[in-house]
Amino acid sequence: MNKVPFQRGPFFFLLALLTTLACNKYDEVQLADYRPEFAIPLLTSELSMEDAFSRFGDDNFITVDADGFMTMNYFGDVTARQSSEIFESIAQTEGTFPLFDTISALPFSTPNGFDLDYALINSGTMQILYAMSFSEPVTFKARFPNLITPNGEVYEYNYFHDDPNFPLFVHPQVDLTGYTLVPTRDSLFIEYHVLLESSGTRVRLDTIGLTLVDFTASYVEGYMGQEIYEIPRDTITIDFFENWTFGDVYFEDPQIKVSVINSFGFPVRSQASIMDVIKADGQVITLESPFIDSINIDYPRLDEVGGARTTEFVFDRSNSNIDEVLSGVPIALDYEMRALANPDRDTSIRGFMTDTSSFRVQVEVQLPLYGRTNGFVARDTIDVDFSDYEQVTSAEFKVITENDLPLELELQAYFLDSEDAIIDSLFSGPRPLIQAAEVNAEGIVPPSSSNEVTTFIEVDGQRFTNFQQANRVLVTLAFSSYNGGQTSVRIYNDQRVEVRMGMKLEVQQ
């Protein structure tokens, strides 16, 4: 099978047709240097704002209201599960305690200001041990009025010794899991009796003790006292501006919504120790608001054990300097919060906590796309391959843009070689390519107000040769909102910009 070379086609045509005329003029006819010019479509591209923003995050990144108005949302989520001092102090109630009388109180300690009503024991064991020397059988009885069995009864313990002569008798361990501790005046009392079999007389032991091991609680109820709960520091990254070079953006109505999900059963008040916005230029600006340290956080009541209550608070322009904080080019929100339990020290409020109680803090930065920008520049790099266009001697690109957006776009493209050195640029200077659609007083683009612009870009032979050496194109896009960035505009999800591009290529055959 023979492939007919494209370039020699005309030559063969002439040779075959004209050499038969036996005329010298038609001997050795060559191809002329003709340069046809071909017009072909290159690409069509449509960019909706919803598509444009979708690449920056998951489905929750952009929300769209019923009118199609778009808002960027950035989320932070921190959970603090902190074991309270009360649980720690309860856990410290272990060891061997001597009983000096038939009614003794264990040194049950609680944090200052804590008033324990009762606690549900999660784990722990208890053992009684003593020494006896009696000549007749005795009955040992112990009673723990502050210790309630899972059946709801006061725990009592009886043991008959028929030969009560031993230096030390250790009773079997008692598993206290599921028992309820109801202290009396913050004390755990133990009552014991040793009854002589013959007479029923009560006698006291000289040596008797109580051992508690691994004593923990899973639920406590009472007045929890005042305590600071630390919520870990978190940073929300605002990646929308990751390709920013310079320029400013001003959002008309930004918000920071703080949601606290509280499963501790007592009142809490927020204390935001850190609420800073980090800018792209390195600036750090603190969010200021009279409410920053005074948000009262709701809490579940005694009949809502296991549940949680959510408190939401929104920082906006009316109660903070948020518009100043989130203007420019914010790239991160750095925050840290603390929760103050029982801020008013009201001992009449009987609360609870479990060993799984927690504070969950969700911070959401909301940037409604209503604002203005001027000269906001982003950069991106695109791979290109002109290797199939070696025979092109010049080109003219025709770019048609239809823009529903109230944003003007200035484009410049730099052609880079394999070393990322600039070979050439598309324009000698930035040129408006996509004009902004006109807006009304509310910053809304009226229907049928899209802006169509046709731009011709001529590239001569030398420049096209330069382009062919490029491996990548560095595209810089400068955005400005309508009216040179002076007018705030609203961005809706159905607004789109369509770019259609064709080209005329002069080809040397």
């Binding site: 086609g9 003029k25 006819v29 199939d388 770019v499 064709g502 290529l505």
Partner: protein, 442 residues
Amino acid sequence: MRSNLLQFGWSLFLAFGLLTPLAAQQELGTHFLRQHWQASLTNPAFMTEHTIEIGLPSFYFNSATNGLDFDQLVRTTVEGQNVVNGEALIANQSENNLILADFHTETFRLGLRFQDLQISFHHGLRFNAYLNYPASLAQFIFLGNASAVGETLALGPDIQLTGYNEFALGLAHRVGRLGIGARAKLLTGIGNASTENRRADLFTDEDIYQLTLDTDILLNTSSYFRINSLTDFDLQVGVDDFTAGDLFNSNLGFALDFGLTYDLSDRWQIAASVVDLGGIQWSENVVNYRSNTNLAYDGIAVDSLLQSASIPLSETLDSLGELLTFSETTDNYQTALPLKVYLSSRYQFGDSWAVGGLVHLVHFRETTNWALSLNAQRRLGKVLSLGLSYSIRHDHFANLGLQATAQLGPIGLLVMMDNVLASNGSNNGLSFNLRTGLNLAF
């Protein structure tokens, strides 16, 4: 840049060009060479004086256009190099442009005359090429489509490339003043490529030059042509490719020639004939290439230019290359031979001079071409005869023809050209033909 549409267009020119002498048409001077059997090719009723005629290989070549001047097709650069003159091609072409070429060889001929009856047999090898291309095809190839934005370019050429054997048995008889003749011809096709439908319209939109290709193409081929893709095809045709195995095959056809002569007087004869009434049924190595689509290409759809990691430039060219594809079948098909009509009148002045006039029509592929010729012949002694003719053909008025015959004993030689001015390149190159012959006559 790979321009596949462009390459396809060139392939058509190329196919035609490589099929060297091809395509049918107007042979005028031979009609007046009455002393040689070759004249009977134009009218089977013509009989010579000889009892036995043996025709040795005789050759005929013809090429013609209806607007393109071959002389203008090639120009000489300042450096002295001959190059294709694309600008002249564009400037001088018509809305529809014909390029025709014939190559005939009569390998052997035997004629036996019995008083007023003549029987003849000959074998001929025929290669015909016909190309009718629209002006916009050449425009597209040489200039591109950028100058035709908003317009539709018709790119589909009409082509027929045919090679066949002709085994002819003729019979001529004179009854009084009337002469009648007929010839039956068995045809065996060597190869063919012909378009049955040829619409290929390319529209370039003014928006961003979106392309719309509307095709209704049917290219029937037998042996000559294989298309693997728009840029990959196999062409195997031409005189050099003929072998003995091509004499007989299953591509069978049949044609008839009819002719009449009538002597109005001893010196004045009128004649009429119809030649090549018939065709060939192609069934060997047949492939039918079809394209019947309306394809639009709007460029590559990029999800988002501002988000793309690459600009798909190569995809544009690849997509263009896929714009035109062919489906293949193997259905037998028929082609018709160019039908020729000769109407002539000849007057003999004494023994030396004869003058004649000829109206010649060729009907082929829905096109009828005509020619008028005036001829004068003078016998110089017993050996030599010279003829001069003036013809009007293809709307061109400067065709000066020359015929020369010599009879050296039994050996007869002839040379005929209908447009001698084309041979030296000094005049128009719209048409050119040449016939040579060597006969033995007893």
